[in-house]
């Protein structure tokens, strides 16, 4: 149902993953994941090593945070995140690159995992693994299946349907074996017979590499998917692979599915087999007008400015927007001095013409947004309801089902910011529900 076909623009596909040099200072934000912020357990002046636990998850919905560098804690202070809002962060001055002894830094690939399912989940929690598909959902919660529910499918999202992004593509090309081990570990944690890796069929190379690798593993199946945005969205992916539909207001586990991103499986491999916490992520630096395209492995906490400086020297003069994420769901970065977080996946530089929103006109009731909506909603209706503050009606029309994929805005010939309006509506509905409680 629904979906659109935006220009793919995967121009950084062939850029091999490079190592980003260490910055002088990093700022590690305390809320890099969905849920409550972590609590710092280091103080100013403390010496830390790479991979040392620096902030602990004390709430239920929270994840541990480890130091991405070695050095001295400079301060624990407020730090502006990429949209400029003040958050708590630990600032660390980088000195050398001294890793924790417990981390296995050898290049050998370890296939055997002797841990029990419960131990695997505990390991994910200890290593601060979160979902790297965008929502940064803490992995240990996802893989602790609630009682009374049973996981039947493990689905790995490698669709990478967002335009421009190529980090997942590169990880598959370069770390296929590690990914398959990671998938096996997650399969063991859930106790499911088969894991499915869904890849959009416009990526023949990764499909070939992954299929060949998967043959040497038990219970890993690579599924080529139809090219359509948002193929990688959780509910759409479940539908494409299993044929099941997640009912409104329910979670994938309610239909026996658990979905993880391909990037997460690589992090899981490193955490479980190599004892390496989530301290690095892979970022695409791309843009049509840029002289060069890159994929980098960066330490978390490096600022966007540091990345741009290393990759491009400086931003081109015609830059209109810098976006974290792809063109469909990414967020414009208003503060380039902000540090990267666990969920960051790209730095997309758009020039003025590309970034400009086209002028808005009135809705002509053409219904294109309805055809485009992958959730079967009526975006034009929400637009009118939200504008007139008819929040209860919007709720009755399942506004909360919206996954904010941006298909409606993309397809609208009147250029109405439908996704923005729906997001506003969702906020209002949530506020109303909170007030009612």
């Amino acid at each position: 149902m629904g979906g659109v076909h935006p220009e793919e623009n995967k121009i950084s596909t062939n850029a091999v993953i490079e190592q980003m040099p260490l910055p002088k200072q990093v700022a590690v934000l305390m809320n890099q994941h969905l849920g409550a912020p972590a609590t710092p357990i280091v103080a100013k002046g403390d010496k830390v090593k790479v991979g040392q636990l620096i902030a602990e998850a004390q709430a239920f919905m929270c994840a541990n945070i480890h130091s991405p560098v070695s050095g001295t804690v400079n301060k624990i202070d407020t730090c502006k995140d990429m949209v400029g809002l003040p958050k708590t962060a630990i600032y660390i001055d980088v000195e050398g690159d001294e890793w924790m002894e417990s981390i296995d830094r050898t290049p050998d690939i370890k296939r055997e995992c002797t841990l029990e399912p419960k131990e695997i989940v505990a390991k994910l929690k200890e290593m601060g693994i979160v979902g790297l598909g965008g929502a940064t959902f803490p992995a240990h919660i996802k893989y602790s299946v609630p009682e009374g529910k049973k996981a039947e499918y493990l689905i790995i999202n490698a669709a990478e349907c967002e335009p421009y992004l190529t980090s997942d593509h590169r990880v598959m090309m370069e770390h296929a074996e590690e990914i398959c081990i990671g998938v096996s570990i997650l399969r063991k944690a859930l106790g499911v017979p088969n894991a499915y890796i869904g890849i959009e069929s416009n990526k023949p190379e990764p499909i070939r590499v992954m299929t060949e690798m998967a043959r040497t593993f038990e219970g890993i199946i690579v599924e080529p998917l139809v090219v359509k945005y948002p193929q990688g969205a959780e509910k759409q992916l479940i539908n494409s692979i299993t044929g099941r539909k997640v009912p409104s207001g329910k979670l994938p586990i309610d239909v026996g599915c658990v979905v993880s991103n391909i990037g997460t499986t690589f992090a899981v491999y490193e955490a479980v087999q190599k004892n390496k916490p989530l301290i690095e992520n892979i970022l695409t630096v791309t843009g049509k007008k840029l002289p060069s395209q890159h994929n980098y492995q960066c330490r978390i906490g490096i600022t966007y400015n540091d990345i741009i400086k290393h990759a491009l020297g400086q931003l081109p003069e015609t830059t209109g927007k810098v976006i974290s994420g792809g063109t469909m769901m990414g967020k414009a970065i208003s503060n380039l001095d902000a540090p990267t977080t666990k969920g960051a996946s790209s730095v997309l530089v758009m020039d003025e013409n590309e970034a400009r929103r086209r002028p808005e006109s009135n809705c002509i009731r053409c219904g294109k947004c309805i055809n485009a909506c992958p959730m079967g909603l009526e975006p034009y209706l929400f637009s009118a309801l939200v504008k007139n503050d008819r929040i209860e009606e919007a709720q009755a029309h399942n506004i909360l089902d919206c996954i904010e994929c941006g298909c409606c805005f993309f397809s609208c010939p009147a250029n109405k910011p439908l996704t923005d309006e729906i997001r506003l509506g969702k906020n209002k509905v949530r506020a109303m529900m909170a007030a009612k409680k």
Binding site: T78, K80, V83, G84, L85, P86, K331, A332, S334, N335, R356, R357, P417, D420, E421, R423, L424, N427, K428
Partner: protein
């Protein structure tokens, strides 16, 4: 033929008329005519400032209660309160007239835009996605939700400064704009003697140096005003000064003291030269006595004969 038809229809008509008459008698809803009368007196804007669903709901509440205790039409003010009291036959509850005050001075000049926003023109949405064009996480976003919320046309966005402007004459202090602002910038404050008010036009709770990075007119929480205030009306909390309008005697010492100009004094004549400062000190003491009276009448401004004003 025609006669039969007329006869049959006529009889049916009479039958239903009788049925309807008795049903109407049986299920008669008795409504106090006073509700209509009071609804007539109320402003009729359905602004929701009273907390009721609209003016008629408020009129019903008045009649049900029989007096005005705890019920107040902020939009109607004193005049409406008196009329309603007359109709209800009770004493009116009259409080000090209030007015909406915009506590942000992040104009285009003071808080220059560090980025451009081109998303949905709605403050609540912009507030949920990012910090704002100036970079100040507490300042006005300038997209005019307050102006859209105002039913009385008292708020407008100034295209020069990008900030909302309150028309004191039209503002009824219904509080709709206060609820509409996602950043809590607008506050209802006492209208003050001769419409004169002193307030801190800033909401930034960041440390001084950080706040100044976004806006040259930000309150930096230096505490000079708190020390200067002879009446203890100013408190600095979380790097932000707040003037309690119930304690403020409009002496304007803090205005002169503020290093960033974050404290605003409106509707005052220009400050006298510095050497006359001692005379200015005398004014508040005099004012203090009269302003403390329960319902000061703005017309009899206690400071009108004072040479410093």
């Amino acid at each position: 033929m025609i006669l039969t038809a007329v006869l049959v229809l006529g009889l049916i008509g009479i039958f239903f008329a009788i049925v309807l008459y008795f049903v109407a008698q049986k299920f008669k809803v008795l409504e106090d005519p006073l509700i209509d009368e009071i609804a007539e007196v109320l402003p009729g804007a359905n602004c929701g400032g009273c907390g009721k669903a609209g003016c008629r709901a408020m009129a019903e509440a008045f009649v049900k209660q029989g007096n005005m205790d705890g019920l107040k039409c902020p939009a109607g003010g004193e005049e409406v309160a008196r009329k309603v009291a007359e109709l209800l036959g009770c004493t009116p509850e009259i409080s000090d007239p209030m007015v909406a005050v915009v506590r942000c001075n992040g104009s285009c000049g003071n808080a220059t835009a560090k980025n451009n926003y081109d998303g949905l023109a709605d403050c609540a949405f912009a507030n949920s996605v990012y910090v704002g064009e100036s970079g100040c996480a507490f300042g006005c976003l300038g997209l005019g939700n307050c102006a859209k919320a105002c039913q009385f046309g008292a708020l407008s966005m100034d295209p020069e400064t990008g900030l909302p402007v309150v028309d004191e004459e039209k503002c009824t202090a219904c509080g709709a704009c206060v609820k509409a602002c996602p950043r809590g910038i607008i506050e209802l404050r006492k209208k003050g003697v001769k419409n004169r008010r002193v307030y801190v036009a800033c909401r930034n709770k960041e440390k001084g140096a950080v706040a100044r990075k976004w806006c040259t007119a930000a309150c930096i929480g230096c505490g000079k005003c708190e020390k200067t205030c002879p009446f203890g009306a100013i408190k600095v909390e979380n790097n932000l000064a707040y003037i309690d309008f119930n304690l403020c005697r409009l002496c304007r010492k803090c205005v002169a003291e503020c290093p960033t100009g974050a404290i605003h004094a409106v509707n005052f004549p220009p400050l006298p030269p510095k050497k006359e400062a001692p005379a200015a000190d005398a004014a508040p003491a005099k004012e203090k006595v009269e302003a403390a009276a329960p319902a000061p009448e703005p017309e009899k401004a206690p400071v009108q004969n004072n040479p410093t004003y």
